[in-house]
């Protein structure tokens, strides 16, 4: 097998087109901006005979040109993907081969978008997302990585090599390098994005890294929100001493530089003492408390129904809770292995706990601020007059009405959690050094960055695109939720 080029024979046609389209987008965008200062805006004039005339002028022309150029650029990019899938392996270069490996992701994305757009009128806020371009772009980026994580991680469809095993002779080799002896020995014929300094496949490591992020970031954010909601609602609703104490504690954690906190919590010495396990025991109780209070406050007046529901939900949650906190090799290992369905790889629990801990005070502050604002509303007063309990008012009156800002912040915070996970990896904390997560890979690649940038760049760009997607998604959601 020979070395792959970036775009192969497909590039002969598409590369010049891509260049032209990119330049056209740049020129058109610049022209639109400059003209918006100089030229009169597009105006619509009503005529006496009941018709309207649009005066487009140069501004309108530039806007149309920009639309066309962007469309052209997207078509060219689509051409790379379709060319890569249809042409025989190797002809479409590295880009084509990667597009082909990602075929299940493209399929899943297409199905998601087709279904969502078809039924968007029935899907509430989620459906409205597909009215905003920014929101759709963000959603596409996020779902791309979610599907890549799912198909690449547990299903094992995308990665070309084992992310941890090294192949001799491929150390620091450039993208598209052929694997010696492949495909006769059953290996994939190329390292698509080259080899890193331990001769592992950069592409496969990036794909496996996405699964780690997709698992941890949303779940950790959810746990942080549970803590934030369970403590923030009473702080905002009652005010007074509860608020003072909880706010002081939240500010205390926030005053710590995040990296110092990580160094204090995640080092092997601290893990040895079991502090992270104890923190997990405390932090992971909050979802249980939340679920109990949620059900209890609602069905308080129907004791039979309440007891049945509370018992059912709590048994399941408590089992999951015990399974999560009891891990072999840590100080807390109480659940027998036979009924312990959750076994985390070493280090994951510690990373998870520290990320939840860092995120909780911020979500506490947001929930507290919202509760403080919403408790003066009339529907709260009405519920209080009806004689509802405080927790009912907080969880069933205030919380549903705070959902808009909370959903938006949830998206942003997943992005921030992703950044935090990367930071942990960048300083080599928590996860084992050979772990394929993006932060650790960037950390491993940075020592030789000025000679071989290719091992560090793919995870960096992957992380950037995921966080960007989450930010755009949050922006789209905010825009659409404000329209109501």
């Amino acid at each position: 097998m020979e070395q792959l080029t970036w775009t192969g024979s497909l590039g002969a046609v598409l590369d010049p087109l891509l260049g032209v389209a990119a330049v056209a987008v740049g020129v058109a965008a610049l022209a639109t901006i400059v003209l918006s200062f100089v030229d009169a805006p597009v105006s619509v004039q009503a005529n006496a005979d009941g018709t309207v005339t649009a005066r487009t002028g140069a501004t309108g022309l530039a806007a149309s040109a920009l639309r066309l150029a962007v469309l052209g650029l997207l078509l060219v990019l689509l051409g790379y993907v379709i060319g890569g899938i249809l042409m025989p392996y190797g002809d479409a270069g590295i880009i084509g081969a990667m597009a082909r490996r990602l075929t299940p992701v493209w399929g899943a994305l297409a199905v998601t978008f087709a279904l969502s757009i078809a039924f968007k009128r029935y899907l509430g806020l989620y459906g409205k997302l597909f009215d905003s371009t920014v929101g759709m772009v963000g959603f596409a980026l996020v779902m791309f990585w979610v599907y890549t994580g799912i198909f690449g991680g547990p299903l094992g469809l995308i990665a070309t090599h084992d992310p941890l095993s090294a192949l001799s002779g491929l150390k620091n080799k450039l993208p598209g390098v052929p694997v010696p002896g492949a495909p006769d020995n059953g290996l994939f014929p190329h390292y698509l994005l080259g080899g890193d300094n331990l001769a592992r496949d950069v592409f496969s490591r990036m794909i496996h890294g996405s699964w780690i992020v997709i698992q941890i970031a949303p779940l950790a954010t959810l746990f942080a929100f549970m803590v934030g909601i369970t403590l923030g609602l009473p702080a905002g609703y009652y005010g007074g001493r509860v608020d003072t104490i909880l706010s002081f504690l939240a500010n205390l954690v926030l005053a710590f530089p995040v990296i110092l906190l990580f160094y204090l919590l995640v080092t092997p010495e601290i893990v040895q003492t079991g502090i992270p396990s104890f923190m997990a025991t405390v932090l992971f109780v909050f979802p249980l408390v939340f679920a109990f209070v949620l059900i209890n406050s609602r069905f308080r007046t129907q004791p039979a129904k309440r007891t049945a529901m509370v018992a059912g939900v709590l048994v399941v949650l408590a089992w999951l809770y015990l399974a999560l906190i009891s891990q072999a090799g840590t100080v807390i290992n109480i659940l027998p292995a036979a009924i312990d369905p959750i076994t985390l790889p070493s280090g994951i629990l510690v990373v998870f706990v520290s990320v939840v801990f860092v995120n909780s005070p911020t979500s506490f502050r947001i929930v507290r601020g919202l509760a403080l604002e919403l408790r003066t509303r009339d529907y709260v007063a009405a519920a209080q007059t009806r004689g509802e309990t405080a927790w009912y008012v907080m969880l069933w009156e205030i919380l549903p009405n705070a959902r808009g800002p909370l959903i938006v912040d949830f998206c942003l915070r997943i992005g921030y959690t992703t950044i935090l996970l990367g930071t942990l990896g960048f300083f080599g904390l928590g996860l084992p050094p050979e772990s394929p997560d993006w932060g650790s890979t960037i950390n491993a690649g940075r020592s030789l960055l000025s000679i071989y940038p290719h091992p560090a760049l793919p995870p960096a760009i992957a992380l950037l695109s995921l966080v960007l997607g989450l930010n755009l998604l949050a922006d789209g959601l905010r825009e659409e939720s404000l329209k109501d």
């Binding site: 204090l264 990367g422 940038p453 960096a460 950037l464 922006d475």
Partner: protein, 349 residues
């Protein structure tokens, strides 16, 4: 105003106190002390030798007592070596007669202790780091603040225009790029032999003595970019709000030209919110500083933090956390006071 200030200062002291207790407790856990002993007396020493070393250096006593000594409210430990009869102690520095040493030597007396990693007084290490980071931050501010304000004002003066869309998207991209990503991309593009531009240096070590355009641009840009997007978005939000205000409409109806409206009527009011945001950005910038100084090997405050934390250098770590807590809380205070000062509608009762 006075009672507000006093209350805030009291909170500050309480916060710093709680934080140092937490840091002290965590760094003095048994495995961490063992790590210090091994890093100071050799990695292969036996458990008995570890215990001996800890006893000899005053670590083998209750944490609370030693916290009191560090703070300077309890007298420092002294210990007479049975074999040589020499007296050693916390306050007895190298080459000092035991009789001359003060009995209290803690933070309250201005003694920050000795760094075990750098073998120098903590105050010297932190001071040097702060001076270097100060230089970095100065240039970051010089780039970031005007850049962010101009971007925000340009984007916010005509909401929904193409310029607004372009600049807003650019701001979102920069806020989504953590320092370790933008730093890596910058080094790969502008400093690697693979791309071949080689405009700047990939390391800022030489910038510690003499900062030049070539060795200081990348670290400054990396930090500035992350904060820039956020401040620009806040400025834009505040600018769009001001531009829809009644007095702007009045000015427009009077026939004031658009540049004049922006410069004379809108700008001052639009800059109140960004001021607060810039001040509140300091804690975040501190994070960026740690990452960038590690990535570019610039031995400032952030680098000192990583070294201290990585080697469990207790007294250095305590000093570093006190300084960073101080920075965070003081900037919060300045932001509150400045907000009131700039906005006459708000008065603190």
């Amino acid at each position: 105003m006075m009672s507000f200030l006093i209350r805030r200062l009291a909170t500050m002291v309480l916060t710093a106190f709680c934080l140092t207790v937490v840091v002290f407790a965590l760094t003095n856990l048994a495995p961490n002390l063992e790590k210090i002993a091994k890093s100071q007396a050799g990695a292969r020493i036996s458990d008995a030798e570890v215990t001996g070393w800890l006893e000899k250096n005053g670590y083998a006593r209750p944490t609370l007592v030693r916290y009191g000594e560090w703070l300077g409210v309890l007298p420092g430990w002294t210990r007479t070596d049975e074999a040589t009869g020499r007296e050693t102690g916390r306050c007895i520095l190298q080459g000092m007669e035991p009789a001359d040493a003060p009995s209290f030597c803690g933070v309250l007396q201005g003694e920050w202790g000795q760094s075990t990693v750098f073998k120098r007084p903590v105050i010297e290490v932190v001071g040097r780091g702060l001076a270097l980071t100060g230089k970095l931050m100065f240039w970051v501010m010089v780039v970031m603040v005007p850049g962010a304000l101009i971007t925000g004002v340009l984007a916010g003066m005509r909401e929904g225009s193409k310029l607004d869309r372009t600049l807003s998207t650019a701001s979102i991209v920069t806020t989504a790029t953590p320092e370790y990503v933008s730093g890596v991309v910058f080094i790969a593009v502008f400093a690697s032999s693979a791309v071949g531009l080689r405009w700047f240096n990939g390391s800022a070590t030489s910038a510690m003595d003499q900062a030049t355009f070539a060795n200081f641009t990348l670290p400054v840009m990396t930090i500035a970019l992350y904060g820039m997007g956020y401040i620009a978005r806040m400025t834009r939000a505040s600018m769009t709000e001001v531009m829809t205000a009644q007095y702007i409409r009045t000015a427009r109806l009077k026939g004031v030209s658009f540049p004049n409206i922006v410069m004379k009527h809108a700008l001052r009011n639009a800059l109140i919110a960004p001021f607060t945001v810039i001040m509140l950005q300091f804690p975040w910038l501190l994070n960026g500083v740690v990452i960038v100084e590690t990535l570019f090997n610039y031995k400032g405050f952030g680098w000192t933090l990583v070294e201290a934390a990585g080697n469990n250098d207790i007294e250095l770590l305590l000093a570093v956390s006190v300084v960073s807590v101080f920075v965070v809380l003081v900037t919060q205070l300045i932001s509150d006071i400045g907000y009131v000062y700039l906005n006459p509608r708000i008065r603190i009762s």
